[in-house]
């Protein structure tokens, strides 16, 4: 049923390679990166979004800006989920009352939907907390909220 071949995925990484081979692979990766449409491109963009969001979480001083950077991180993960579902769909058996058919499972998209749901709940509660803090402390600056720091 499930035809995940994880060891075949990892066998390339386990082979011993010299530095020149790695550099040749790297140049090949970047030559084909701009003219292809595949999982590598989406993985790279998702990783880039995740790292940009991480930078924002680490650097921004305003709590609302940190919340927006968190949304960027979640979107990077969503892109990777949906891209891998597009190129790596699994066959599942879908049984209705009398008929059964083989369909492709949209499990990556289901994961992305749940991530969107949790992100919506997180944004609502986070903004409510920020508004409550702003009402009592008159600031949304994370560096001023230091009563629980040592």
């Amino acid at each position: 049923m499930l035809e995940l071949n994880l060891m075949a995925l990892l066998q390339d990484a386990q082979a011993s390679m010299s530095m020149a081979d790695v550099l040749a692979q790297f140049s090949g990766f970047f030559r084909t990166f701009f003219v292809e449409f595949g999982p590598r491109q989406f993985f790279t963009i998702g990783a880039l979004l995740f790292c940009i969001g991480w930078y924002g979480v680490l650097v921004r001083r305003n709590a609302i800006a940190v919340l927006m950077a968190t949304e960027i991180m979640l979107n990077g993960v969503n892109i990777i989920f949906v891209a891998f579902n597009r190129w790596w769909g699994l066959k599942i058996t879908r049984a209705a009352f009398t008929a059964a058919e083989q369909v492709l499972s949209p499990v990556g998209q289901i994961f992305a939907i749940f991530i969107i749901i949790v992100a919506a709940a997180e944004a609502a509660v986070g903004l409510a907390i920020i508004i409550a803090i702003y009402r009592t402390r008159r600031t949304a600056n994370l560096e001023d909220l230091n009563t629980m720091k040592w």
């Binding site: 940009i52 609302i64 960027i72 579902n85």
Partner: protein
């Protein structure tokens, strides 16, 4: 112009929107401009979903993120307006360490992506009727997580109202 060329052109269009919007969101000084850049980024992600044959997710992305969460964020910015001034420094002292850490992590992930030998079919399975399949999966295979997600949203809504209300609740 072939269909593949069109797809790559659209991919680059959405990539500029997504990456430019994300960089603008974390670097712009005005919080309002930063939220508008985040709108561009989220809309580009919805375009990605269309390219990936996930039409239901593209619609959900537009409705939930661009329509819901961004309105919430802009309302919160308007409520707490004193940080909107452009003369206030928006970054703490961690700019260079944060750049170093996130850049190094990005390089590690790109290296792993480059070394990975993908074994799946590059043409891929074509999801013919995306909305039907997603709906069937949510209602048949993932029913319990779907219900739990509904309960979670309900709890989050009540919690947000209780936290953000003006007067303390009656004892």
């Amino acid at each position: 112009m072939s269909a593949d060329t069109m797809i790559i052109i659209y991919w680059w269009l959405f990539t500029f929107a997504v990456v430019g919007g994300a960089v603008g969101c974390v670097t712009l000084r005005s919080l309002y401009h930063s939220a508008l850049a985040l709108v561009a980024s989220l809309a580009g992600v919805a375009g990605y979903f269309v390219l990936l044959h996930a039409e239901f997710l593209a619609a959900a992305q537009i409705i939930v993120y661009v329509g819901g969460i961004m309105v919430l964020i802009i309302a919160a910015i308007l409520v707490s307006q004193n940080m909107m001034g452009r003369e206030i420094k928006q970054e703490n002292n961690l700019v260079w360490p944060a750049l170093l850490v996130s850049g190094a992590w990005f390089c590690i992930m790109v290296y792993a992506n480059m070394r990975m030998a993908y074994v799946f079919n590059p043409e891929g399975p074509w999801l013919a009727n995306n909305v039907e399949q997603v709906g069937w999966s949510l209602m048949a295979t993932y029913t319990l997580p779907f219900e739990i997600a509904g309960v979670l949203l309900f709890m989050a809504m009540i919690g947000a109202i209780v936290i953000a209300r003006r007067e303390p609740p009656d004892a």
